[in-house]
Amino acid sequence: MSQPIIEARDLSLSFSRRQVLDGLSSAFQKGEWAVIAGRNGAGKSTLLRLLAGVLLPDAGAVERSLEAPMAKIGFISDRLSLFEDWTIARAVSFHCRVFAITEFDDSLVRRLGIGTKSRIRSLSAGERAILHLSLVLAQKPTLLLVDEVLHMLDPYIRDLFVEALIEAIAVRETAVLTINHTFSEIERLPDRVLVMEQGRFSVDETPEALRGLMKKVVSRESLPEGVPCFFRKTEGEYKEYFIYPFHEELRTKHALDFQDIALPEIIKAFIGGGYEQKRMA
């Protein structure tokens, strides 16, 4: 295991009196695609900002390896922050100047037919995302931090976006951290899935491992003792039980039909469980 490209050590941050991050620790490797999921307000965007250096933690530290200095970190926030009044041409030339970029690949931008004289303010969300991506990719980043932007994009642009990310990993071993709610397109992409709950990561597994760790049981009766139910949903008479952590012995011990579930549903269950915990707290 080589040096992580970026590491979070005991990060804590609070807004007003709300503790958003509470001693969060994690590390990410080169070329890894990690997806961070969690309920709304769990602090995912905050974490990303901390990693990007846009926010400073109250306690703890973010350690960036030498391969990931500020200039090599690409951050796309969910606000798609750029100077609103500027034209695209100006934004590009400014970005290139500040990051010492000699060549700017405008293929993506051209593919959408965005004119360089348009103002950023007038762009649609998708166009802005692509522009942002282009800018960030021009930095030849070793770390890409992408907040929840995919849901704003139309399917075509979404594809472009994902392809660009894939290329970054393939060509440059960029580490990619994305925040995702919807998983349909990308469920087979991440190397690693992390779920944020109460200011920390409650889950940190590969998708395969996760699929093995959580199974679903649909039944009218309640579960027998010894079956770890993480989350439960009631649909009329039927109840959906999400079993976590699952192990194969349970299958032999109990005569229940443990169904395999796909990643999106697993994530949903984790989030649902998070809400439950919050309610009970």
Partner: protein
């Protein structure tokens, strides 16, 4: 990246100038409109008004400049993008700060230039105050803009911080002074602030205070900068407070100490010098020091900063009687300093609530005791008219104080209420048949004679300033001077001199001088001599200066190089007037530009050379010359 910021600042400055121009045009337009329509007098845009308006705008602009760096960047979006750039936070802030600071400085200098051209006194207290407020506001706004988003909140905090800072600074200035000079702080601040220009040590101290007190703010700004980010932080987080508060306390005491040590003396409260007999000098130093200079050396008494010296009332043997203002309670005192043992005692005290007519100048020595008048009303309560007195009577008291014992006696009497600039005054005292009387004059009213048994009687009416000399009372009425001889009761008119005579002044108090044979007066721009026996009037010379009457009955004339006097005058001459002749005693040369005055008293001549500004003395130098040879009195240690 710098370019972006400079362009932005340039744009804002342009807006400001345009707005200002618009404002100015609007105001001129309104002025014009109003004059055309007949409202109000057509007042052109006066220099001072312009300065005030410009100043206010500049303050707003400074705040705006300070608040703008992060307000302009579409708040969060631009800021977030900025933070992703490979530029350290400190550098980012510097880039934001410098163009704005430069703009602030440029505008400030332009304003200072304009101010020096139009304003009356270029760098007085008001301007210093403005300058400090301007830059303080800028820095406070800037630091706040880093922290908050809401423009209104920022402005509020900026205003509060600025007010707090200025108030604290002023407080420290006042406190420092009050500590050094043992004076009530409020009295000090209200007076010193006006005259900061003229009082360099004070000015320096004030500047130091403002700068020192700004230090904790600036320091905490830099600390805050280190941690600034998107988070809408509380205005001061705990760490910042932990640094800010001690720094503030440190600055507070440092600046306090500084004002204490820098203030070795205050120019404003100048020292005064009095010529004593036998070529001695008495120097009175604010706030409470009296120093006696003589050939053998000097000695002083320090009353620990309680007395504001006014004047020397009497020199009697080894006793020196001085009047002054006791700053502890605002009362006026007559004190006695013994030249031999330097003991000091307060002979008499007049409380603040009692009003002495003509202030300390109204305390006279009539040959035996001190006398003064107490009036019921002080000047401010009097009506505006300084012409004729009203029929309304006013109760007054004549107070006598024995110099040896300090015992006093009071007589009450009534006098008509004079106007603001027309207070009754003691003009003379004499004895008749073993009884003492005093004469009280009020322009436009009969002269009053008050006997020592409390009786009083009215003598002749005087429209101008009456004179008592050689047992004769001279009153002016109409176009002539009436001469009255005082009798045991009342007076009788013995002579009338037609013509526009000017005689005497309210500061001259004649102490019963029946030995006087002549008096000198001014008539039709000539100096004339009036023989008191024959009443004959003889011409002496042209009126090119001032007549001085020195008790017990000597007359002097100070001739000016130009008449009316000019600032560029290089000399003044002192003549003795005796027996109808002017004899030159000494020519005094002036090297600096300004107005020089010669004050003559029984012991010698005091030459006061002062530079005036705004009706107040800015800088005064004094030289003293003692009779009879009028050689200059110089002592070691006295500049």
């Amino acid at each position: 990246m710098n370019r972006k910021e400079w362009r932005e600042v340039g744009r804002q400055s342009l807006y400001f100038i345009l707005a200002l121009a618009a404002m100015a045009l609007l105001m001129m337009g309104i002025d014009l409109l109003m004059s055309v329509m007949g409202f109000a007098q057509a007042k052109p845009l006066e220099g001072e008004k312009l300065i005030i308006i410009l100043g206010a705008w500049l303050l707003m602009f400074s705040m705006f400049l300070g608040l703008s760096p992060f307000a302009m960047d579409s708040k969060q979006k631009g800021m977030e993008y900025l933070l992703t750039l490979p530029v350290s936070r400190r550098r980012l802030l510097l880039i934001k700060l410098l163009p704005r600071l430069a703009a602030a400085v440029i505008f400030y200098l332009a304003f200072a230039l304009l101010y020096s051209l139009i304003g009356n006194d270029a760098f007085s207290g008001g301007f210093a105050f403005f300058s400090l407020a301007y830059f303080a506001l800028f820095f406070i706004s800037f630091s706040l803009s880093v922290v908050h988003e809401n423009f209104i909140v920022q402005s509020l905090w900026a205003g509060i911080a600025l007010s707090g800072y200025l108030a604290l600074s002023l407080y420290v200035v006042g406190l420092g002074f009050s500590w050094k000079f043992r004076m009530p702080g409020s009295w000090v601040v209200s007076r010193s602030w006006q005259d900061l220009t003229y009082d360099v040590p004070t000015l320096l101290a004030a500047i130091a205070v403002f700068l020192l007190l700004a230090a904790p703010f600036v320091a905490s700004i830099f600390i805050a900068f280190k941690k600034f980010d998107l988070k809408p932080a509380r205005a001061f987080n705990r760490r910042q407070l932990l640094i800010f508060v001690p720094l503030l306390l440190l600055a507070f005491f440092a600046s306090l100490g500084f004002t204490y040590f820098v203030q070795t003396s205050s120019n404003y409260w100048e020292s005064d010098l009095f010529i004593l007999k036998n070529h001695k000098l008495l120097k009175s130093d604010f706030p409470g020091k009296l120093t006696l200079y003589e050939r053998t050396g000097r000695r002083s008494v320090d009353l620990k900063g309680r007395i504001l010296w006014e004047r020397l009332l009497l020199e009697q043997g080894e006793k020196l009687y001085v009047s002054g203002l006791d700053l502890e309670d605002g009362s006026r005192i007559i004190g006695c300093l013994n030249q031999n043992d330097f003991s000091w005692r307060i002979l008499h005290r007049i409380s603040k609530s009692s009003h002495i007519a003509n202030g300390h100048l109204g305390i006279r020595y009539d040959g035996a005791q001190f006398v003064y008048l107490l009036s019921q009303l002080d000047q401010s309560a009097r009506p505006e008219n300084d012409g004729k007195p009203s029929a309304e009577p006013m109760a007054m008291q004549l107070v006598r104080v024995d110099p040896a014992s300090g015992r006093n006696a009071i007589f009450g009497f009534q006098v008509p209420l004079g106007g603001r600039n027309n207070e009754p005054w003691l003009m003379g005292s004499d004895e008749r048949n073993g009884r003492r009387f005093w004469l009280v004059a009020l322009r436009g009213h009969n002269v009053l004679r008050i006997w020592d048994d409390g009786r009083n009687e009215e003598l002749d009416l005087s429209e101008g300033i009456p004179v008592y000399a050689g047992g004769l009372l001279f009153t002016r009425r109409g176009g002539s001077m009436i001469v009255n001889r005082l009798l045991d009761a009342g007076s009788e008119r013995i002579h009338e001199m037609v013509g526009g005579y000017t005689m005497g002044n309210p500061y001259f108090f004649s102490q019963g001088n029946s030995q006087m044979t002549e008096i000198y007066a001014l008539r039709d721009e000539r100096i004339v001599r009036i023989d008191l026996a024959t009443m004959s009037v003889d011409d002496v010379g042209p009126e090119r200066g001032f007549l001085h009457m020195v008790p017990p009955g000597d007359f002097y004339f100070v001739e000016y190089e130009s008449w009316p006097p000019k600032k560029s005058d290089k000399w003044k001459k002192l003549y003795r007037l005796k027996d109808g002749r002017m004899s030159l005693l000494k020519k005094f040369d002036f090297n600096e530009v300004g107005y020089g005055h010669l004050l003559v008293n029984a012991n010698g001549v005091k030459l006061v050379h002062s530079q005036w500004k705004d009706g107040k003395v800015a800088k005064a130098t004094m030289r003293l010359y003692a009779f009879p040879d009028l050689r200059e009195l110089r002592f070691k240690g006295l500049d």
